[in-house]
């Protein structure tokens, strides 16, 4: 009986190895909210030394939200945010995406651009 339980539980564990994606997201659905007063978000992309994959390409006006875009980016990446307005913003930074739905809110606090994740 013990052998049977061991074998069944081992088999169940092994099966789990191929169904993890039913409970863990392997894609990320991203939306950007622009809560600044004077800037328009022009693009949000994942970058490497030589390449760039644009994730959010539509212009996001102040007070608006972008369309939701789904990409195969789950993990830690270097991202690039471009904005135009009173001055041009072009910044790169590290960001971790755990998969599922991610909302990045861009806010302006005393002239400093901050990115809040919700």
């Amino acid at each position: 009986m013990k052998k049977m339980i061991f074998m069944l539980s081992s088999f169940a564990l092994l099966l789990c190895g191929c169904v993890t994606h039913y409970v863990v997201d392997d894609t990320c659905r991203l939306q950007i909210g622009n809560d600044t007063q004077n800037y328009t978000v022009t693009s949000f992309s994942v970058v490497s030394k030589d390449n760039e994959i644009v994730w959010i390409s539509d212009d996001v006006e102040p007070g608006e939200k972008s369309k939701v875009s789904e990409r195969d980016f789950v993990g830690s990446f270097t991202v690039r945010l471009k904005m135009s307005g009173s001055s041009k913003v072009d910044t790169t930074f590290k960001q971790r995406f755990d998969g599922g739905s991610v909302f990045l809110q861009i806010v302006e606090d005393d002239g400093v651009i901050e990115i809040h994740r919700r």
Partner: protein, 386 residues
């Protein structure tokens, strides 16, 4: 409480795992092709036999084998699914000297953002390929030699454009062995790709050698030459240290890389059904990495093991669980790959006692209560009316 601590420990190990690089995944195809050729050399022996292998890694957490691409670190799964079979039988059952065998090994490996068994989702950063080796084998027990030949098919199923491009390629291979010496070569339309010479001096009972004694302490050498960018030469030395239970294994390259890995392997039984390993490998940065593993029949657990570093695209500090079986059978004996002796199979007293009982029962049935055999005499033939 103990379970919670175990979960925390395993998660800590998972997060600590170093990502594997896209370049290493690209190189992995040729590593697999060479591993199949090396395995073929280990498996073939004169006489009728069978060999079956089955294996797959299992990673419950997507950060155990994350992928390092030019964009960053991707959560996901490296995978390696293996199956292999080799059967040989005599040409003529009256003369079991010459045998003919067929072998087929297949391994599907790569990296994908989703785990799967048969049908991957082919993510944007996935690489899925399969490598197959098929061949025919002729052996002679009297001469103690054999010859094998066949093809290897390298099939890139899906290669995203963040990896080196790969193409379908057909290779040919030849393998000849006589006693302790084996020579092997592989080639494709561009010319020769690799050559291997093996000298397995250790006397093993499964090959008809000694069970104990000095001859079992002789070394096993494998030297492989690869036609690649650096024309590397890989040398492997396996040495029995104690009673074919404790072995040392050293692998290195005759180039700037030098020593690659060293390990101590303890097999509680010479049939290698179970093993306890302690290994050390040198990574591309020159750092030494210590690890080990436990293997019991079909299940294997390992952490930072040198074999996983080599087979699983340079995975480092990774906790590995694997379903792994590689079982040979010859003359009614079973043994794991590379074992010195067959597994201890107990005599079957149950069958014998059943036989004994059945013969006793037969005697009792034939005998009367007084022990005398009943005699039945026919007195005539009666025809029944229809």
């Amino acid at each position: 409480m103990h379970f919670l601590l175990l979960v925390i420990f395993v998660l800590a190990i998972c997060v600590n795992a170093a990502p594997i690089h896209t370049e290493a995944v690209s190189r992995g195809g040729n590593v697999t092709r060479d591993a199949q050729l090396e395995e073929l050399g280990n498996v073939l022996m004169p006489g009728a036999m069978a060999y079956v292998k089955l294996g797959t890694y299992w990673f419950p957490h997507p950060r155990q084998t994350a992928l390092r691409s030019e964009f960053g670190k991707h959560d996901g799964y490296a995978f390696s699914q293996r199956f292999g079979a080799y059967f040989s039988a005599p040409f003529n059952e009256m003369d079991p000297d010459f045998t003919f065998g067929l072998l087929w090994f297949i391994e599907r490996n790569g990296w994908n953002s989703e785990d799967f068994v048969f049908f991957p989702n082919y993510g944007d950063f996935a690489l899925v390929r399969s490598v197959q080796t098929a061949g025919a084998v002729l052996t002679s027990s009297k001469l103690g030699m054999g010859i094998a030949g066949g093809i290897q098919y390298y099939n890139p199923e899906f290669v995203s454009h963040y990896y080196e491009p790969e193409t379908d390629t057909l290779y040919g291979f030849g393998h000849i062995f006589a006693g302790p010496v084996a020579l092997q070569g592989s080639f494709n339309s561009d010319g020769w790709k690799s050559a291997r010479a093996s000298l397995h001096l250790e006397s093993k009972e499964v090959n008809g050698g000694a069970r104990s004694g000095l001859k079992t302490y002789l070394p096993n050498f494998d030297v492989a030459v690869y036609r690649d960018a650096s024309d590397s030469v890989r040398v492997k030395w396996e040495q029995n240290l104690y009673g074919q239970l404790l072995y040392a294994e050293v692998t290195g390259f005759l180039s700037d890389y030098g020593l690659y890995s060293a390990g101590l392997k303890y097999y509680p039984d010479p049939s290698r059904i179970a093993s306890f390993d302690f290994t050390c490998y040198r990574d591309s940065d020159g750092d030494l990495n210590f690890g080990g593993g436990v293997s019991i029949f079909m299940v294997r657990f390992a952490y930072n093991h040198a074999e996983d570093h080599e087979r699983l695209f340079g995975a480092k500090r990774t906790f590995v669980m694997e379903l792994n079986m590689a079982l040979g059978a010859k003359d009614g004996n079973f043994f794991s790959r590379g074992a010195a002796r067959p597994a201890p199979v107990e005599e079957t007293p149950l069958t014998k006692s059943l036989d004994r009982e059945s013969s006793k029962a037969k005697m009792e049935r034939a005998a009367g209560k007084d022990g005398a055999v009943k005699e039945i005499t026919a007195t005539g033939i009666r025809r029944e009316k229809k």
